[in-house]
């Protein structure tokens, strides 16, 4: 095994598969996904809608409640298996050890309670605090999130706040119990561009201060470029490329990653007349092509693509593409 992990992984996901029983048979949305998150790192999980990125993050939280969903594989948090954990034991992990923030803070907060009440509720679910102590802590947290006059905001309802302030309240709530892992599912998608940058800065800053690891789920390569340490690219239910941000951005190994990067408008220099888009559309989970799932849209397609590519290692990157194989040794699907 190559030594890529300086410390024990905080979270290790192994062959995670999420499928759904439907009228048209079993549909696999997340297919044998494996990855590891080390303490304190900020990893970005990128992919288009339908790539299975959100389902992967919900699976880690044990939040897939659909009775028709089948979840297999292993999710180990600090060496403890989360798949199949009893509801009661899972409750002690959620919100306390692993916390999550969601895309739309408006609908993600209960409309009939003040934000202070909702933060205090989470604190009191995991810590022995009086109502008064919890409220004081809520005000501190809101202040830390950069909310102006937190002692006033604490008594406001979600609908009385702007989108950015709501997301700050949401992050304050998620961080209230000092989780070791924060999963942020498209935290900036529903916000204005200027607010997006502020929220990203905030997440980055908090990750440093609290030492929490962060999984940032997004479809936006621009967001990834902004904050991530490491990138995992998902396509059609699989991780197709993974590696530290710089090499992935400089030398994308997978044609899909390459396509994604080409579709971001350049920050400097001459603006291209048209951005280069990836031709076609991602396949629906119900009818994914055999072999490499990206092959029908891929300009580099050749014979071996009919067989599912394993992950190949190229320096620090893992790439699921035969183009990489020509130059590199295969590492298989096993990951530290």
């Amino acid at each position: 095994m190559l030594d890529r992990t300086p410390s024990e992984p905080l979270l290790s996901v192994d062959s995670l598969t999420v499928s759904f029983r439907t009228e048209h048979g079993l549909i696999t949305a997340v297919d044998k996904v494996s990855f590891a998150i080390r303490p304190g790192e900020l990893v970005s999980l990128v992919g288009e809608s339908g790539s299975g990125k959100s389902l992967t993050s919900l699976a880690v939280m044990g939040l897939i409640t659909d009775p028709n969903a089948i979840l297999t594989g292993s999710i180990r948090y600090k060496g403890r298996e989360l798949v199949g954990l009893s509801r009661h034991k899972l409750q002690a992990v959620r919100g306390n050890e692993i916390a999550m923030i969601f895309q739309d803070p408006m609908s993600a907060m209960t409309p009939v309670y003040t934000i202070g009440w909702q933060i205090a509720e989470q604190l009191r679910a995991h810590r022995k605090l009086t109502k008064k102590q919890a409220r004081t802590r809520a005000i501190e947290l809101l202040a830390e999130m950069g909310m102006p006059s937190p002692e006033v905001q604490v008594d406001r309802y979600p609908h009385q706040l702007s989108g950015g302030m709501r997301q700050r309240a949401m992050i304050a709530m998620a961080l209230s119990c000092d989780p070791s892992l924060l999963i942020a599912d498209e935290p900036t998608t529903a916000l204005d561009v200027t607010v997006q940058a502020q929220i990203l800065r905030l997440i980055e800053q908090l990750q440093r201060n609290h030492g929490s690891a962060v999984i940032l789920v997004t479809h936006d390569m621009g967001v990834v470029a902004e904050v991530a340490d490491r990138v995992m690219v998902m396509y059609a239910g699989r991780i197709v490329e993974e590696g530290p941000k710089e090499p992935v951005f400089m030398h994308p190994g997978h044609p899909y990653t390459e396509g994604l990067l080409r579709s971001i408008p350049p920050m400097h220099g001459v603006r291209p007349h048209r951005l280069i888009a990836i031709p076609g559309a991602p396949p629906s989970p119900a009818n994914r092509p055999p072999g490499c799932r990206f092959s029908p849209r891929c300009a580099y397609r050749y014979e071996p693509c009919g067989i599912d590519p394993p992950l190949f290692r190229k320096e620090q990157q893992d790439i699921a593409c035969y183009r990489a194989e020509a130059l590199l040794e295969p590492v298989g699907v096993q990951r530290p």
Binding site: M61, Q91, M100, F102, D104, S107, A108, P111, A125, Y157
Partner: protein, 325 residues
């Protein structure tokens, strides 16, 4: 909050004034009919007719007529029935009110508690046979006509099985005032309460189940789970709490309508001389003063119940509070 209360009160008075004008116009200014003849009732003598004309100011301008009527209804309360001579209309209504209220409050407590239990149980056990059974029972409850349920209940408790240990405690039909004999009051009303509540238990149980199922699809339930809250807390503090908004607004409408005489069928079947019963008899006799007074009082309660619900609504849903204030 205080401002909303005050404003709601003002709105309430305004609506009631509007209703009173409307009632007045319908009864007094309908073209081609002599209101005096209708107030006097069937086969009234010319002397009585003349007295009525003078009494209600039919020889004076319309606004005087309106004010005179309002004075009789709400200030002096000396409207007398022209059918049952000497029967004072307002005191009769005030006598009937506690009966209707006793019937209604007991039934309301019953239907709110039971329908919450049913709605929550069904939503929690969604898709199982428990859920399906409860929903079918609810539908049966909604479809059974209330007078039929009442008659069947009477048949069982008053006649067929009255002599068995099960129903021997059921007293004869009629009302027992709470102040006289609380236990007798309770015994006399249990069967009517259940009869009136059945329909609403079915209806509210189904509505609550639907809104709970809907609430469980909401993002904030997922957040509540992500916070590590217990399922029980998620149900009560998040799902049920947000579903209550629908529940309460429905309750206000039904409660208001029932106070305003909707309890008639149950009152009639169980021999309870409440407001509904009184109005029904007045219609039968074409006792116009009685009908007018009953309609006016009913509207007071319907509007009042709605105002109470609106205030409850504002305490339940902060979004309503800010948009109105």
């Amino acid at each position: 909050m205080g401002f909303i209360l005050l404003r709601r009160l003002g709105e309430m008075l305004f609506v009631m004034a509007g209703i009173s004008v409307l009632v007045f116009l319908i009864f007094f200014v309908t073209p081609g009919a002599d209101p005096a003849a209708r107030i006097a009732g069937r086969n009234a003598s010319p002397e009585v007719l003349a007295a009525v004309r003078h009494d209600f100011g039919f020889d004076q301008p319309i606004w005087v007529q309106y004010l005179l009527l309002m004075k009789r209804l709400f200030i002096t309360g000396d409207l007398t029935s022209f059918v049952n001579r000497g029967q004072k209309v307002i005191p009769s209504i005030l006598e009937a009110l506690p009966i209707t209220f006793s019937l209604l409050l007991g039934a309301a407590v019953l239907w709110v508690v039971v329908s919450i239990l049913i709605g929550v149980t069904a939503a929690m056990m969604r898709g199982t046979w428990v859920d399906k059974t409860l929903m079918v029972l609810g539908l049966i409850g909604v479809s059974m006509p209330v007078f039929w349920v009442g008659e069947v209940a009477n048949l069982i408790t008053q006649s067929r099985y009255h002599d068995t240990w099960l129903f021997s405690w059921v007293p004869a039909l009629g009302y027992v005032p709470l102040t006289q004999d609380p236990w007798g009051w309770f015994k006399a009303l249990v069967v009517p309460w259940i009869t009136l509540a059945i329909l609403y238990i079915g209806l509210y149980g189904r509505v609550l189940r639907a809104s709970l199922v809907e609430a469980y699809q909401e993002d904030f339930i997922r957040t509540a789970r992500a916070k590590g809250l217990s399922e029980r807390r998620i149900l009560i503090r998040h799902a049920l709490r947000t579903s209550l908004v629908t529940f309460v607004s429905l309750f206000g409408l039904d409660f208001g309508a029932l106070v305003g005489g909707g309890t008639l069928l149950v009152e009639y079947v169980f021999g309870l001389q409440g407001v509904g019963f009184l109005t029904f008899n007045a219609f039968g006799n074409l006792d116009l003063p009685m009908i007018m007074a009953a309609v006016m009082y009913a509207s007071v309660f319907v509007v009042g119940a709605n105002a109470v619900v609106d205030i409850l609504y504002a305490t339940l849903d902060p979004r309503v509070r800010t948009s109105r204030a």
